[in-house]
């Protein structure tokens, strides 16, 4: 490479020429997923005060995500923080949620599992747990849809390929818990498909909380393994 070419590449704006739109979107997805994997598989190994290490990769993922929205000129409305399409999104979610709930009930009946809608968190009122589930679902759905799904659409466009990639990523982030991997893949397909038709994070977060409640209340507890994922799946605390 000649010195002239080198100095051209060094200029800040020229760096943007090096990588295409799709590659950049793929890099963003990989970066966010790697942060979550680091938190799940490495940082969560830490004990006591060192558990704060989990906040570092998660914080970096949020910094990247928010900066990416700003640099790409995405508005809150684009990302799904809106209410005008709430009922459309809720309508699209209703049928798949009912079907999934029936399937979960059928699995519980087939496995001889006692169905208990109060067992999600024994020391916390169900309403509080549902609200906490909504908050946790909101964070997950934001990262999964507003970033991963939108970047997947840059690479593969709207439709099944990008929906399946989002679902596979969501399921992969729940390894090595086999029951959760299956459940989150199914949920991931539903939520990613609905988001592509009616992007609304609030409706998805409500759905996330309700579906978690249904899954915890119906599927055999040993199979769910206390909803543990990552390295903590193998531990007792």
């Amino acid at each position: 490479m000649s010195s002239m070419e080198y100095s051209k590449l060094e200029s800040s704006e020229a760096v943007g020429d090096v990588i295409g739109d799709r590659a950049l979107a793929g890099w963003e997805i990989a970066s966010v997923v790697s942060s979550i994997f680091i938190a799940e598989w490495l940082a969560s190994v830490a004990v006591d005060w060192a558990r704060i290490a989990v906040a570092f990769p998660i914080g970096l993922a949020f910094v990247l995500s928010i900066s990416s929205h700003r640099l790409r000129g995405e508005t809150a409305r684009d990302l799904g923080f809106r209410f005008d399409n709430f009922f459309r999104a809720a309508g699209l979610l209703t049928l798949p949620m009912i079907v999934t709930a029936i399937v979960c009930l059928a699995i519980a009946w087939w496995a001889g599992e006692r169905i208990d809608f109060w067992r999600w968190h024994l020391s916390r009122p169900l309403a509080v747990q549902l609200i906490l589930g909504f908050a946790w679902g909101f964070v997950q759905q934001y990262m999964l849809q507003s970033l991963v799904n939108r970047r997947a659409q840059i690479i593969w466009g709207k439709g099944w390929p990008s929906v399946l990639v989002v679902a596979a990523i969501f399921a992969g982030l729940h390894l090595p818990n086999p029951a959760l991997v299956v459940a989150t893949f199914v949920g991931g397909v539903i939520w990613a498909a609905v988001y592509q038709r009616a992007p609304n994070i609030f409706a998805l977060a409500i759905s996330h909380s309700l579906m978690t409640w249904i899954v915890v209340s119906t599927l055999p507890a040993p199979a769910l393994h206390h909803l543990r994922i990552g390295f903590r799946y193998f531990g007792s605390n």
């Binding site: 760096v15 963003e28 680091i38 190994v45 004990v47 910094v63 990247l64």
Partner: protein, 160 residues
């Protein structure tokens, strides 16, 4: 997306990757120091049909006694504190006093080859987790089959 924000995003991605690589390296180094004691010294001297013995010292805290566990063929056998009389360790200046030896009685074992391993038990600062650190190298020993009255190995002992 124009070039300027694109290059900013690329720089951000590179910076994030570097920060995460540093974090992973820090976790790896931290994990090593939490789960192992670089100041642990010890030797497994003897492993035979009667005894497994040696010594262990934490050189960073030579006044303490190291807790050790004996495993034979990867099965836990016994644990004890390395506090037996070993003046040779003291004379060799590996310890501040004479009391860092360990002696296990070898349990009854079937005839054949066996492997003895002794691990030091390392508790973390708060005592919530414990890890095992191998003391020196494992020792292999053989238990001969007991001769019968006719001079052949009994079936009971020579089966394996």
């Amino acid at each position: 997306m124009s070039n300027k924000p694109r290059s900013k995003l690329i720089h951000l991605l590179i910076s994030k990757s570097i920060a995460e690589a540093v974090l992973v390296a820090a976790i790896a180094v931290g994990f090593y120091f939490v789960t192992s004691n670089p100041d642990l010294r010890g030797v497994l001297d003897v492993a035979n049909t009667e005894t497994v013995n040696g010594w262990a010292v934490d050189e960073a805290r030579p006044w303490t006694r190291v807790e050790v566990q004996l495993f034979i063929d990867n099965e836990f056998v016994a644990d004890k504190t390395a506090a037996e009389f070993r003046p040779d360790v003291h004379r060799a200046r590996r310890a501040d006093d004479d009391w860092h030896g360990f002696v296990f009685a070898t349990p009854p074992l079937p005839a054949g080859e066996h492997e003895a391993r002794v691990y030091a038990l390392l508790p973390n600062a708060t005592g919530t987790r414990r890890t095992l650190q191998l003391i020196e190298k494992p020792l292999r020993f053989r238990i001969e089959p007991e001769p019968t009255r006719l001079g052949f190995p009994s079936e009971k002992d020579g089966g394996r």
